[in-house]
């Protein structure tokens, strides 16, 4: 349902995404992992249209969308949960949820709250501003993504700022969405809980797809420090990698 063909994205002379080819299957749960700076978030942003590739194709449901704006991709059924969600002045969770769901009907919004597991109604009228905690804003981000009823949901590090007790319920929620709504799910994460939940783990390193398969097969690479970009610090000017 989503096909990446010879995908490149560079900044200056550095290839952030360096020739990725991969086809995501409908209804599967993908975990994308890799070292910091390997290109995971950039790949997710290329799919959503936040960045535009320098070369290559992105085909979604058979349509070539690599030059489409964010809005068109959203309307086509792609939803995106930002790693660092935007904060506003004068916009509440209710406003965002209504925009995401395309309705301000109270019953529909309450049904959405139940679906994403937010039990407090007062949460609905919270301003989405700088006063929200990291965990609260991530819950809002997750809820607005699910409220889109997307065909493809992309979550960029959904556990950032989330407490340990919330991570497993969050994994279960995304799995339930995958199962009940057939949502193709891509989670960019370092967290083992999401990788264990994934049908397929993709590992990105230096802009290339270094591994595709199950978590078991990825473990040797995940435990191999040589895959880490920080190995570059070893050498004449070795400052001593903390790993």
């Amino acid at each position: 349902m989503l096909e990446l063909k010879d995908l490149y994205f560079s900044v200056g002379d550095r290839n952030i995404i360096d020739g990725i080819n991969y086809t995501f299957e409908k209804g599967k749960f993908y975990g994308i992992t890799g070292p910091n700076g390997s290109g995971k978030t950039t790949l997710a942003k290329l799919i959503m249209g936040i960045n535009t590739p320098n070369a290559g194709e992105i085909r979604f449901g058979g349509k070539e969308i690599s030059q489409w704006p964010i809005t068109e991709r959203a309307r086509e059924g792609i939803a995106y949960s930002f790693q660092q969600p935007a904060r506003f002045k004068g916009i509440t969770f209710r406003d965002l949820l209504a925009m995401a769901a395309g309705t301000d009907d109270e019953d529909m919004l309450l049904a959405l709250l139940r679906r994403v597991g937010i039990c407090s109604l007062s949460f609905l009228d919270k301003p989405v501003d700088a006063k929200l905690s990291g965990g609260e804003i991530k819950k809002i981000e997750l809820a607005t993504t699910i409220a889109r009823n997307p065909r493809l949901a992309i979550y960029d590090e959904p556990d950032t700022g989330i407490d340990l007790w919330t991570i497993q319920p969050m994994v279960r929620l995304l799995k339930r969405e995958q199962k009940e709504h057939g949502t193709t799910t891509i989670v960019v994460s370092h967290n083992r809980a999401f990788l264990e939940a994934a049908d397929i783990v993709l590992m990105i390193n230096e802009g290339k797809l270094a591994y595709r398969g199950d978590l078991q097969g990825a473990l040797p690479m995940l435990n191999d420090l040589s895959a880490c970009n920080y190995r570059k610090c070893v050498g004449d000017r070795d400052v001593g990698c903390y790993r």
Binding site: P69, I70, T71, G90
Partner: protein, 306 residues
């Protein structure tokens, strides 16, 4: 009595579909159009006809008074001096505002000087909207001044809004806070085209335990310009905060100068100010929810000025 233009202006500045309930005073083109008083709220004209005194009895609660002004006469510059005397322990809402309809080439304008004397432990919510429209090209100016004097334990919450169409505005807010009083001002101004607006605010925290919070939200479109000056002058142990944010669109210009003066060692004064374009992460978020770029901009501005 109210024609279609009057009704539209009243709806825009005072959210009124027709004549309000309770006490009100509607001024049209420099003259009294209609007035009602209530058992607890009295309204009297000044001898020179240039304004009113609204007197609210002590202990009056859950009552409101509307005092909108509408202008549709070419070449008129209407000046009014309105006084509000709010009795102790009352809790009232005052809805003011001025709507201008400009149909010709001649300028039209209004200057409303509103002075509030808020008695001990009284609470006032003051809502003021300014708006101008019409096919005419005459300059529309609105120059409101509010002066607020808060007695011990009094609270004033002021929502001041200029929602569009005003070519020139010179806005002045002054306040003197007594002991344990609280002042909350939220000012929202939108300018576009070649409009100009200046907002000057001087708040004196005179009484111990007084608190003031001034929030300014500016949206500056086209080639318009807005300048914002706010001074908190603390003479006692008190708390004061200024938050001023300006969104610049197109070629708009802005000068923002918050000023804090602590003349007492136990004064706590803070400010935060920002000027800039709409943040790209906000736009991307709303676009990822299916809004177009323009829809996202409008929604962000709408929220910002809400």
């Amino acid at each position: 009595m109210l024609d279609a233009i009057d009704k539209e202006l009243l709806a825009a500045v005072a959210d009124l579909e027709g004549l309000p309930k309770g006490a009100f005073n509607i001024r049209k083109n420099g003259r009294l159009l209609k007035r009602e008083v209530s058992a607890n709220i009295d309204i009297e004209s000044h001898a020179d006809g240039q304004g009113i005194t609204v007197t609210i009895k002590p202990g009056t609660v859950n009552e409101s008074v509307h005092i909108p002004v509408i202008l549709s006469q070419a070449g008129l510059y209407d000046v009014v001096y309105n006084n509000f005397i709010i009795g102790a322990d009352s809790d009232v809402t005052i809805i003011a505002g001025c709507g201008i309809h400009c149909g010709g080439l001649e300028p039209e304008g209004h200057a409303g000087i509103h002075e509030f004397r808020i008695g001990p432990k009284a609470k006032v919510k003051y809502v003021e909207k300014h708006y101008a429209r019409g096919p005419g090209r005459g300059r529309r100016s609105l120059n409101p001044t509010t002066k607020v004097f808060l007695d011990a334990g009094a609270t004033a919450e002021m929502e001041l809004t200029q929602i569009g169409g005003v070519d020139e505005a010179n806005r002045v807010n002054e306040a003197v806070l007594g002991p344990d009083s609280l002042l909350l001002i939220t000012e929202r101004v939108l300018t576009e085209g070649s409009q100009k607006a200046v907002s000057t605010n001087n708040i004196t925290l005179e009484g111990a335990g007084s608190r003031a919070n001034m929030i300014s939200r500016s949206v500056i479109k086209g080639d318009s310009q807005q300048d914002f000056y706010a001074t908190l002058d603390a003479l006692a142990p008190c708390f004061g905060h200024i938050e001023c944010d300006a969104i610049i669109m197109d070629s708009g210009r802005n000068e923002t100068v918050p000023s804090l003066k602590a003349r007492h060692p136990d004064a706590a004064l803070t400010h935060e100010a920002s000027i800039g374009k709409i943040a790209s992460d906000q736009l991307m978020k709303l676009m990822s929810l299916g809004l177009t770029y323009d829809e996202a901009v409008n929604r962000i501005i709408q929220g910002f000025l809400k």
